[in-house]
């Protein structure tokens, strides 16, 4: 039945709808020839319908996949299209490809089943409709449909030959048990009767049906009945049914065992399906939980690899090129993974052609692995490889689940990557913001004292002659003070850099606490002029084990801080007290406003500013951070708190101290000066 319509140059595709038939290759050959005649492409399409899922066994499915592979090998394209029905699929195909469809080829199989003549072929109507727009060729497929051998038939019903052997063994066991009971219970009262024996056989049937499915169950019920009749009913060792009662017994026993087999095998099927469904849900849950808890793709695939191995009882391996370096492959695999040449071939094909390869797939290569490409919206991101262990069945369900796992894993990994790159961007932006903030803050703090120096000196230079001696000195003093402040900032910045890079070496030695405080007072003299300073060192002759220059810097930073945040003419108390438990404790107390409560925990943070608009006497925000680092490097501690009566209190401690006799201390002092 052909209908000719003019072929326009845009009509450049021959479609062939393949079906499971031993002569299905004929369809492919026809398609190839027609395409060759027309000088256009051809494509083999397998319409997968829910009806087929129910009726068609796994082998048929595999055969169809193999047929599609053959189509590709013959130079055509292949497509697996899921549709609600064959008619729907045909309609969908024709409407999708309408503008380029040159010819549609369908097969018409002769079905030599009993009722095939009376069966409607609804898709023929669809073909008729299509043929009004497109040329359709129906290829008759003669001969019987694909015939199954007994073994194939068994396999298609999920029965393994050994299950049948188990059924027979189970019946034999029931018979053995019955005869033992018969012989070991001699008194007539306790003698085992026919009903008990029949129950034993029923138990064996129920066991077989529950454990191995319907067919072995039925086999057990029939053989059970025969055995019962042959060995345990009168006349013994003969298969005879004499009376109506016998026949009734037989009928009851057979129906009971068959019913039991039916129900238990059905329950088993439900349980199996439920287990599979639960496994699917569990897998999905695992995938998303791993996605939520993983920081990187590598971490995620490592976790997934372990979990999948445990849940599916298979060997699992992931092969993924890292995002930034596609030449290097990231692998998560069992430790003893060794890939054979055939495995690598299958893996390469899977990756390069985005196709399922390996065991139970159209591209077998003789490997023991199955390779599934992981494809997300952004493209192919890797390959998941699975090697079944002994008990795993690579059936259609397993194949579908693997594809689902591969797709979900791809999505999950892509999500992780996306999240990480967003996080990286955010961190980079934050860092950049902080860097520019610090740069502007440091440049502000360095420029402010410089402005004081340059301004005062420029006044001295241009107006010096008009100024009194006192004012000239005032200008020079103020420049000097600002220069010292600048020096202190620069020292702090350099110290912090050195401390952070670990380039600083502490030279600890015994040094008088009193002379340390005196040294700092002398250095800060000008700034401390407007503060009332009280110093007490107890015992006065105490010496502490310290790096003198760095510890002086600590005390100076703390005093600087006190000067910065207290009004002029207020007091600052320095107390240095030796304690047996803590060591030498230095306390600096001021009488200013104290540290704002919300900032007290961050007083020693780098670039922390204790007060808003902290530029009255600008600082780099490093002084206290350095002090903490210096004291901790000398195994001491430092804290900041507010005094209950107002003002801030900074306390630091150096763990080692001793007291030297006054005379020796004096001698040392003279030796120093």
């Amino acid at each position: 039945m052909t209908n000719t319509t003019p072929i326009t140059p845009s009509h450049n595709l021959v479609l062939v709808v393949v079906e499971d038939h031993p002569k299905a290759v004929l369809l492919l050959r026809t398609a190839k020839n027609r395409a060759h005649e027309r000088g256009c492409k051809w494509r083999a399409v397998f319409l997968e319908t829910p009806l087929q899922h129910k009726q068609v066994d796994d082998d048929s499915h595999e055969r169809m996949l193999r047929l599609l592979t053959t189509a590709e090998q013959m130079g055509g394209e292949s497509e697996l299209l899921e549709a609600a029905s064959v008619e729907d699929g045909l309609k969908l195909l024709c409407s999708r490809e309408a503008y380029r469809l040159s010819l549609v080829i369908v097969g018409n199989a002769e079905r030599n089943e009993l009722f095939s003549r009376f069966r409607m072929k609804p898709w023929l109507n669809t073909v008729r409709t299509i043929s009004q727009h497109t040329q359709v060729e129906i290829v008759p497929l003669s001969g019987p449909l694909y015939s199954q051998s007994f073994m194939e038939w068994l396999r298609s019903h999920s029965v393994r030959p050994r299950y049948l052997a188990y059924a027979l063994t189970s019946v034999a066991a029931a018979a053995l048990c019955a005869s033992i009971l018969e012989r070991t219970l001699p008194p007539a009262l306790f003698r085992i009767n026919d009903y008990n024996i029949a129950s034993l056989f029923m138990i064996s049937c129920a066991f077989v049906a529950g454990r191995y499915g319907l067919l072995p169950g039925l086999l057990a019920s029939v053989t059970g009945f025969l055995t019962l009749n042959y060995y345990f009913t009168l006349p013994y060792h003969a298969l005879k049914i004499f009376t109506v009662t016998d026949m009734l017994n037989m009928a009851i026993f057979l129906s009971a065992t068959i019913l039991i087999s039916l129900f238990t095998s059905q329950t088993r099927d439900y349980a199996e399906k439920a287990t599979k469904r639960e496994l699917g849900t569990q897998l999905l849950f695992t995938l998303y939980r791993i996605a939520a808890t993983s920081q990187s793709r590598k971490q995620a695939i490592d976790k997934l690899q372990r979990r999948l191995e445990r849940m599916l009882d298979v060997d699992v391996a992931f092969f993924m090129p890292p995002v930034l370096n596609p030449d290097r492959i990231e692998i998560a695999a069992p430790q003893d993974l060794k890939l054979q040449e055939t495995d690598l071939k299958a893996l390469n094909m899977c990756w390069h052609e985005t196709k399922t390869t390996g065991i139970a797939s159209p591209y077998d290569f003789g490997t023991s692995w199955r390779f599934e490409p992981m494809v997300s919206a952004g493209g192919e991101i890797g390959v998941i490889a699975v090697r079944p262990r002994k008990k795993t069945r690579m059936d259609a369900w397993f194949g579908r689940m693997l594809t689902a796992i591969a797709d979900q894993t791809a999505n999950v990994l892509e999500h992780i990557e996306l999240e990480r790159s967003m996080e990286n961007t955010r961190v980079r932006e934050e860092r950049e913001k902080l860097r520019s903030m610090l740069l502007s803050s440091v440049s502000h703090d360095l420029k402010t004292p410089l402005a004081g120096i340059i301004g005062a000196l420029s006044v001295h230079q241009s107006l010096g002659k008009r100024l009194s001696e006192e004012k000239r000195n005032d200008l020079l003093d103020s420049s000097l003070e600002e220069a010292q402040r600048l020096d202190s900032f620069i020292t702090n910045i350099l110290d912090m850099t050195k401390l952070e890079s670990g380039n600083i070496k502490f030279k600890q030695e015994w040094h008088s606490v009193q002379s340390l405080v005196d040294g700092v007072r002398k250095r800060l003299g000008h700034r401390l002029k407007q503060r009332k300073l009280t110093v007490s060192v107890l015992p006065p002759e105490a010496e502490a084990f310290m790096d003198v220059a760095m510890t002086e810097q600590v005390l100076q930073n703390i005093l600087d801080n006190a000067c910065k945040y207290t009004p002029e003419n207020s007091s600052i108390d320095i107390t240095c007290m030796a304690t047996p438990e803590s060591g030498m404790v230095f306390t600096v107390r001021d009488y200013g406003k104290g540290i704002p409560a919300e900032k007290i925990n961050h007083a020693f943070d780098k670039y922390a500013r204790l007060h808003k608009q902290d530029s009255q006497i600008a600082g780099t925000g490093l002084g206290l951070a350095i002090s903490k680092a210096v004291i901790e490097a000398q195994k001491g501690w430092i804290i900041a708190e507010n005094h209950p009566e107002g003002g801030a209190v900074f306390t630091f401690c150096l763990p080692e101290w001793h007291s030297v006799p006054m005379q020796l201390a004096e001698e040392k002092k003279h030796a120093i000066y």
Binding site: S440, S443, H444, K447, T448, P449, L450, A451, G452, I453, I454, G455, A456, S458, V459, S462, L463, R466, L467, K471, D474, L475, S478, S479, E481, E482, H611, K612, Q613, D614, S615, Q616, I617, A618
Partner: protein, 140 residues
């Protein structure tokens, strides 16, 4: 004595800067007053009505730019010269200051002559002719 009888107020939180501004401007004949905070400076300006204000931007209590419009409105014409003196030198800060009415923008550190010349220029320009005209028009 170029600034004789001129009253200048500087608002800056750096003590040493106020110090040398005082010494130099007083030596040039001006009457000088200094304030270390924005609110203190504004109060001083409102009570003493200076001829020119020198204003720092980063002040302890608030931003210098926040009080700039009020400083401008200290006289009837709303055109008191305000010279911004700051370490900030980004184009955005300059534009913002200009849009709020700053008469000049000098970045720290600076030499005193630079500021003196700017003060001279600003005091000579006062009041700005176009602004004066608009004000008169409205008044008439």
């Amino acid at each position: 004595m170029p600034f004789i009888n001129k009253h200048i107020i500087a608002i800056d939180d750096t003590h040493s800067i106020l110090n040398f501004l005082r010494i130099s401007l007083e030596a040039l004949g001006a009457r000088f007053q200094g304030a270390a905070t924005a609110s203190g400076g504004l109060a001083l300006c409102e009570s003493d009505r200076p001829d020119l204000v020198v204003l720092d931007l980063g002040l302890p209590d608030k931003e210098g730019l926040d009080i700039l419009p009020r400083l401008k409105r200290l006289d009837k014409e709303g055109n008191v010269p305000v010279i911004v003196l700051t370490v900030r030198n980004s184009p955005e800060d300059r534009e913002l200051a200009a849009s709020l009415g700053a008469s000049a923008y000098i970045t720290k550190p600076f030499v005193m002559n630079e500021l003196v010349e700017e003060i001279q220029r600003q005091l000579k320009l006062k009041p700005a002719p176009h602004l004066h005209l608009i004000e008169t028009d409205i008044a008439s």
